[in-house]
């Protein structure tokens, strides 16, 4: 299966029955997969007339208490930002997929990680965050899609699943059986499913014209984000026990870095990998702890340097942080990263 199709099947496996989308390369296979798959399981697929329409259909379905998903790629994802802000404000659970491509603007259709700022710092207007999960293999897509729906339901928040064109287009073997299915959607007492004349009407809105009330709402959101920061940090560590150096990389770049690390180890360089799996909340504590024992850190991204800002905040100057990035859809190679590892050891030796 292609990565995009794996996201679709994993969503179905996690109990998602509603999908509203609009095609854009390199994620269109996901839309096509859902169009075919959802009717088979009694769900509903609808191709909207635009990304903006799709995200607002998600708002409607989420208000009715069902598991719902939409997906896009960078330029299309930008169009969804207003809707995501509304979802966050109205505290609605939903999963939004971004299979990112080269930008800015219309850019191209090759893989990129240049949407990091947009997905981890809110993206739309207002004081909000969305949890962001970044799988690096097709098997991990299965577990993280499930997690995305769990977090969305548990905290009543939109959750972003971030991949790139490489992850969406590649094929790898996957197992669904190993993954525990997510429990059925519990009754959501807040959902607007009709009171049948019993009790007061329920409303879901992000509008609050009273400033004091809106501040209370904001405080509630901030408390929720604090709880997510405490409980939902995910990170993968590779060969760090004896490491003098570490690479910080996520998603597909982390895999390329892992191969480079294996080769560097053969040359006797003690280097390991810190792979943030949740990009928000960012694994700052773990990076901070390692930075006090590491000689240097190298951040590798398919961007001009975005995650590195979070890495530097976590490191707080305890170790030098270097950067290597490729942009515009160019993928860093194992050899390039290996050269950067060599540079790291030389710079620190001086």
């Amino acid at each position: 299966m292609k990565g995009n199709e794996v996201i679709g099947e994993a969503a179905v496996y996690a109990g998602c029955r509603y999908f509203f989308g609009y095609p854009i390369t390199p994620q269109s296979e996901l839309v096509a997969y859902m169009a075919k798959r959802l009717p088979e399981v009694g769900g509903c697929f609808l191709q909207a007339e635009s990304e903006i329409s799709a995200i607002n259909m998600v708002y409607g379905a989420a208000s009715a208490g069902v598991r719902v998903m939409t997906s896009s790629s960078s330029p299309g994802f930008s169009l969804k930002q207003e809707g995501i802000s509304y979802l966050a404000g109205a505290e609605l659970p939903a999963v939004i997929v971004n299979i990112a491509r080269g930008g800015p603007g219309l850019g191209n259709i090759q893989p990129s990680q240049a949407d990091y700022f947009q997905v981890t710092k809110g993206g739309g207007h207002g004081d909000y965050y969305t949890p962001v999960l970044a799988p690096s293999s097709l098997q991990e897509i299965v577990s993280l899609t499930r997690e995305a729906f769990r977090i969305a339901d548990e905290y009543r928040t939109p959750v972003i699943l971030l991949g790139d064109g490489m992850l969406g287009q590649m094929m790898e073997p996957v197992e669904f059986e190993d993954e525990k299915p997510l429990p059925k959607v519990r009754e959501k007492k807040w959902a607007t499913t009709g009171t049948k004349g019993d009790g007061p009407p329920k409303t879901i809105t992000s509008l609050d014209l009273n400033d004091t009330q809106l501040e209370i709402r904001n405080n509630t959101l901030q408390q929720k984000y604090a709880a997510i920061k405490e409980k939902e940090v995910r990170v993968d560590e590779y060969l760090l026990d004896d490491a003098a150096y570490a690479i910080v990389a996520y998603g597909t770049v982390a895999r390329i870095a892992r191969t480079a690390i294996d080769r560097a180890r053969k040359k006797g360089i003690a280097v390991g990998l810190i792979r943030p799996v949740s990009l928000w909340p960012f694994p700052a504590t773990i990076i901070s702890e390692y930075s006090s024992v590491l000689k240097a850190i190298l951040t590798v991204e398919m961007s001009a340097g975005q995650m590195i800002e979070d890495v530097r905040l976590a490191v707080e100057g305890k170790a030098p942080v270097f950067f290597y990035g490729r942009t515009g859809g160019v993928i860093p190679t194992v050899d390039e990263i290996l050269q950067q590892i060599d540079r790291l050891t030389e710079e620190v030796a001086i």
Partner: protein, 180 residues
């Protein structure tokens, strides 16, 4: 042993499908495998390539900078990948379409007239399968049995009739390369 293979040619020559067959074959043998298409605004007649990594351990980078093997189906692909094949690696050339040989002495080069061989079997379109037969014979990375199982899976009930011809093509490729 980790096999890092790039298959390259014109769009429409079946480059992606050849990679897919190997990926399914590797799955059949319980090996780790990744399949990564060159991805851009591709079209029929344009150049296309696919990277297939077959490994006993989990695949790290699905992107290959220096392949252990390359199968090239057109001249531009030959020119692009001949310098990149790792020292000691193998290069399989569709010699009906590519009239080149490499000056490199540190790699093994096999010229295979895959279209001619396929034509003798009755259908030029199985040239890709001939090349795959040669590839598995020389590298030993997958067995004919698992590739046959992969073909079976890809064709399904609908295209079952294509299976005997493709198995014959695999075998023809294997036989041809034995003489090198």
């Amino acid at each position: 042993m980790v096999e890092e293979l790039i298959i390259a040619g014109f769009g429409g020559q079946g480059v992606m499908s050849m990679g897919q067959l190997l990926a399914y074959g590797a799955m059949e043998e319980g090996k780790h495998v990744s399949w990564l298409p060159s991805y851009g605004p591709e079209q029929r007649g344009g150049t296309a390539n696919v990277s297939v990594v077959i490994s006993p351990q989990a695949v790290g980078s699905p992107v290959i900078d220096f392949p252990t093997s390359a199968i090239v189906l057109n001249t531009p692909s030959f020119e692009r990948f001949a310098p990149l094949v790792r020292s000691g690696g193998k290069m399989f050339i569709q010699s009906d379409l590519v009239d080149c040989t490499t000056q490199r002495e540190d790699i093994h080069c096999y010229s295979i007239p895959a279209s001619s061989i396929a034509e003798k079997l009755g259908n030029q379109r199985v040239a890709g399968t001939v090349l795959l037969g040669a590839f598995i014979e020389k590298t030993g990375i997958l067995s004919k049995g698992s590739l046959t199982a992969a073909l079976n899976q890809v064709f399904g009930e609908k295209k079952k009739h294509l299976l005997p011809l493709n198995i014959a093509a695999l075998e023809a490729g294997q036989r041809y390369i034995c003489d090198f």
